[in-house]
C-alpha cells in the first residue's frame, strides 16, 4: 500500500514536471513575447523588462531557472498584471473555482446516481425514456447556451437569483447548475447501464430467492456494485468539470482561475499560464489518485499492485 502510494506520488511529480516544461517551452518558442505590443517599446527597456522577469539568456537558462523557482514554491510575477505574483492571483481566484467545482461535483454525483438508478429500476417506462433522452440532450447542448438561458429565465424574468458575480451564496446556484448539467447526464447514463447489468446478475437472483425485500436487494446488494463504474468515471469527470468551469466562469463573470487561463494565453503571460496549468494538472492527478484509492476501498476484489 505504502509502496503503491509512493510510486503514484512520484509519477504525479513526473507528470506535473512534464506538463510545466511543455507549457513553458511552447510559449517561449512560439513567436511573440509577453512584452510585444503593437507600438514597439525601445530595445533597452525591453531588455531590462526581460531581465527583471528572468526571461533573458538562452532558453535552457530561462527554463532551469524557472523550474528552480517553482520547486522553491515561487511561481514568479505575472507579466501582465504587473507587481502581482502568480501565487497571490491563484490564492485569490482558486477558492472561487474550487467552490464552484466541488458544488458541481457533489450535485452531479448525487443527482446523477439518483436519476440513473430511477431509470434503471423503472426500465422501459416513460420515465426511463424521458430521463435518457434529456440526458443525451444535456450532453449535446453546450454549457454556454444553457447558462445564458438559465440567466434569462431565473435572473432576468423571475428575478429570483443574481445574474452573475460573486457577492452572495445565491450567486453560486446558477453557475453550479450550468456546470453540473452535462455531468449529471453522463453519470445518470453510466449508472443506468451499470445497474441494469447488475440487476440481472446471479447474486441478485439469489438475494431475491432468499426472500430479501426489493428495497433491501437494491440498497444492500445492487447499488454497491453498480456504483463502481461511476467511481472510476470520476477522474475524467473532474477533467470535464475543469474544462467546463473555464467556460462557465466566463459566462457568469466569476473572478475564478478560468478567466486567468484565457487571459494568460492571449497575453503570452508565461508564468501565470504555468501557474494555472500546474494547479489544474495537480488537481486532476490528485483526483485520479483518490479515485484509485476509493476503488480499492469499495471493491474488495481489487488489490493495489506495488
Amino acid at each position: 500500500m505504502l509502496a503503491f502510494l509512493l510510486k503514484r506520488l512520484l509519477s504525479l511529480a513526473g507528470v506535473l514536471c512534464c506538463v510545466l516544461s511543455i507549457t513553458f517551452l511552447l510559449l517561449r518558442l512560439s513567436p511573440g513575447g509577453p512584452f510585444t505590443r503593437e507600438r514597439k517599446i525601445p530595445e533597452a527597456i525591453e531588455k531590462q523588462l526581460l531581465a527583471k522577469y528572468h526571461l533573458d539568456g538562452s532558453l535552457w537558462e530561462q527554463y532551469t531557472h524557472y523550474l528552480g523557482d517553482v520547486l522553491s514554491g515561487d511561481l514568479r510575477l505575472s507579466t501582465k498584471f504587473r507587481d502581482r505574483s502568480v501565487n497571490e492571483l491563484l490564492a485569490q481566484s482558486l477558492p472561487i473555482s474550487a467552490t464552484l467545482g466541488l458544488c458541481a461535483l457533489a450535485l452531479s454525483i448525487i443527482l446523477g446516481v439518483w436519476l440513473g438508478s430511477l431509470a434503471a429500476i423503472r426500465h422501459q417506462s416513460a420515465l426511463d425514456a424521458g430521463a435518457m433522452l434529456s440526458a443525451l440532450a444535456f450532453i449535446s447542448i453546450p454549457t454556454f447556451v444553457t447558462g445564458p438561458l438559465l440567466v434569462l429565465c431565473f435572473a432576468l424574468w423571475l428575478r429570483w437569483l443574481p445574474v452573475g458575480g460573486w457577492q452572495s451564496p445565491s450567486c453560486l446556484i446558477l453557475p453550479t447548475l450550468t456546470l453540473a448539467g452535462p455531468a449529471v447526464a453522463s453519470i445518470a447514463r453510466l449508472m443506468r447501464t451499470s445497474l441494469l447489468e447488475v440487476l440481472e446478475s446471479p447474486f441478485i437472483r439469489t438475494a431475491r430467492a432468499k426472500g430479501a425485500s426489493e428495497s433491501r436487494v437494491l440498497y444492500a446488494h445492487a447499488l454497491k456494485t453498480a456504483i463502481l463504474p461511476v467511481i472510476s468515471y470520476l477522474g475524467p469527470l473532474a477533467a470535464n468539470l475543469l474544462t467546463g468551469s473555464i467556460v462557465v466562469e466566463t459566462v457568469f463573470n466569476l473572478p475564478g482561475t478560468g478567466s486567468f487561463f484565457i487571459n494568460a494565453i492571449v497575453n503570452r503571460d508565461v508564468f501565470l499560464l504555468g501557474g494555472v496549468v500546474l494547479v489544474y494538472c495537480a488537481l486532476l492527478v490528485t483526483m485520479n489518485l483518490l479515485v484509485d484509492l476509493a476503488y480499492t476501498w469499495i471493491d474488495p476484489r481489487i488489490r493495489l499492485e506495488s
Binding site: 507528470v15 512534464c18 506538463v19 511543455i22 507549457t23 511552447l26 510559449l27 518558442l29 512560439s30 513567436p31 443525451l136 440532450a137 450532453i139 449535446s140 447542448i141 453546450p142 454556454f144 447556451v145 447558462g147 445564458p148 438561458l149 440567466v151 434569462l152 432576468l156 424574468w157 475524467p236 477533467a239 475543469l242 474544462t243 473555464i246 467556460v247 466566463t250 459566462v251 487561463f261 484565457i262 494565453i265 496549468v277 489544474y280 494538472c281 486532476l284 492527478v285 485520479n288
Partner: protein, 299 residues
C-alpha cells in the same frame, strides 16, 4: 478476404431496426444536405451587411438578421459547413492517430506499448482544453507561413480552420487508442493470427489484413462518438474567441454571439435559438447513432 466481417451487415440492420435511429440518421442527412446545397439557392450572402439590423424572422429572412444586418439563415448554414467539416475532419485525424497508436502498442507490446500508454496516461491527466489551446497556439504561425507559400496563399483565409482540425484531432485520439489497443491485445492471441504468422505473413500484412478488418466495427462506433465531441470542443474554443475568427462563422461562434445578445429588454431570441437548435439536433443525432451502433455491437 471477400467478407472479413460477416456479422457487420447484421449490426447495421440491428442498428437501423430502431425507428429512433432511423429518425436520427434522416435528420443528420437533412442537415448535411442543407449545409451543402441550400446556400447555392439562397440569394443572401452570409457576409453581406445591411441597415436592417435585428429584424425578427419574416419571409425575406426566415431566421431574422443580426447586429450587422446579416441574414442569420445563411450564416447558420455557413456555420453548419464549417462546424461539420471541423467535426468530421477532426474526428478523422483522431481516427488515424488513435488507430495507429492503438494497433502498434497492442501488436508490438513490450517497451513500446508501455511507452505509448504512458504518453496516453500523461495526456489524459491534463485538462483537454488546455492542450487543444496550446496546440492551436503552436500550429498557428507554422501553418500560416506554410499556407502563405502554398499556391499563392489562396488558402490563407482558412488557416484557422485547418489549425482547429489539426489541434482537435491531435488531442481527441486518446480514448480511441486505448480501445483499439485493448481489442488488439485480445485478437492477436487468436488462432487465425498465429496461423498467418506461421504461414510467413509479414507484420504489416497481419496488421492491415487481419487485425484492422476485425476492429472496424468498434472503430466506427467510436468515430461516431468522436465527431460530436470534436464539434463541442470547437464550439467551446469559438465561444472563448480562440476558434473560428469573424467574418467566418461556426455554430459555436454564432451561439456565443447569440448568447451575448440575450437581454430582457429586447430579446433577440432568434440569434440564439436557430443555431442552438441546429447544433443540438446534430450532436443529438450523432450521439444517438453512436449509442445505437455500440449497443448493436455489444449484443
Amino acid at each position: 478476404m471477400q467478407n472479413p466481417l460477416p456479422q457487420r451487415k447484421g449490426i447495421l440492420e440491428r442498428t437501423l431496426a430502431r425507428p429512433s435511429t432511423r429518425l436520427a440518421l434522416g435528420l443528420l442527412l437533412v442537415i448535411c444536405a442543407a449545409a451543402v446545397f441550400l446556400p447555392l439557392f439562397l440569394k443572401a450572402d452570409p457576409h453581406a451587411t445591411s441597415l436592417d439590423t435585428f429584424i425578427s424572422p419574416n419571409t425575406a429572412h426566415p431566421f431574422g438578421t443580426d447586429l450587422n444586418g446579416r441574414d442569420v439563415l445563411s450564416r447558420t448554414l455557413q456555420g453548419a459547413r464549417i462546424s461539420l467539416v471541423v467535426g468530421f475532419s477532426g474526428a478523422m485525424v483522431s481516427l488515424v492517430i488513435g488507430t495507429s497508436v492503438g494497433l502498434i502498442a497492442g501488436y508490438c507490446g513490450g517497451t513500446l506499448d508501455a511507452l505509448l500508454m504512458r504518453v496516453v496516461d500523461v495526456l489524459y491527466s491534463v485538462p483537454r482544453l488546455i492542450l487543444i489551446i496550446l496546440a492551436n497556439f503552436v500550429f498557428d504561425p507554422v501553418l500560416q507561413g506554410w499556407l502563405n507559400n502554398f499556391q499563392k496563399g489562396i488558402w490563407i483565409g482558412y488557416s484557422k480552420i485547418f489549425i482547429l482540425i489539426l489541434s482537435l484531432g491531435c488531442i481527441e485520439w486518446l480514448t480511441m487508442a486505448r480501445i483499439v489497443r485493448g481489442q488488439v491485445l485480445s485478437i492477436k492471441t487468436l488462432p487465425f493470427v498465429q496461423a498467418a504468422l506461421a504461414l510467413g505473413q509479414s507484420h504489416a500484412k497481419i496488421l492491415t489484413r487481419h487485425l484492422l478488418p476485425n476492429l472496424s466495427g468498434i472503430i466506427i462506433v467510436y468515430l461516431t462518438l468522436t465527431i460530436p465531441a470534436v464539434m463541442l470542443d470547437e464550439s467551446f474554443l469559438s465561444f472563448l474567441g480562440l476558434g473560428v475568427q469573424p467574418p467566418q462563422a461556426s455554430w459555436g461562434s454564432l451561439l456565443s454571439d447569440g448568447a451575448q445578445a440575450l437581454n430582457p429588454i429586447e430579446s433577440h431570441w432568434w440569434l440564439l435559438a436557430f443555431p442552438a437548435a441546429c447544433m443540438s439536433l446534430t450532436l443529438l443525432a450523432l450521439n444517438f447513432i453512436g449509442d445505437a451502433l455500440r449497443d448493436a455491437l455489444a449484443k
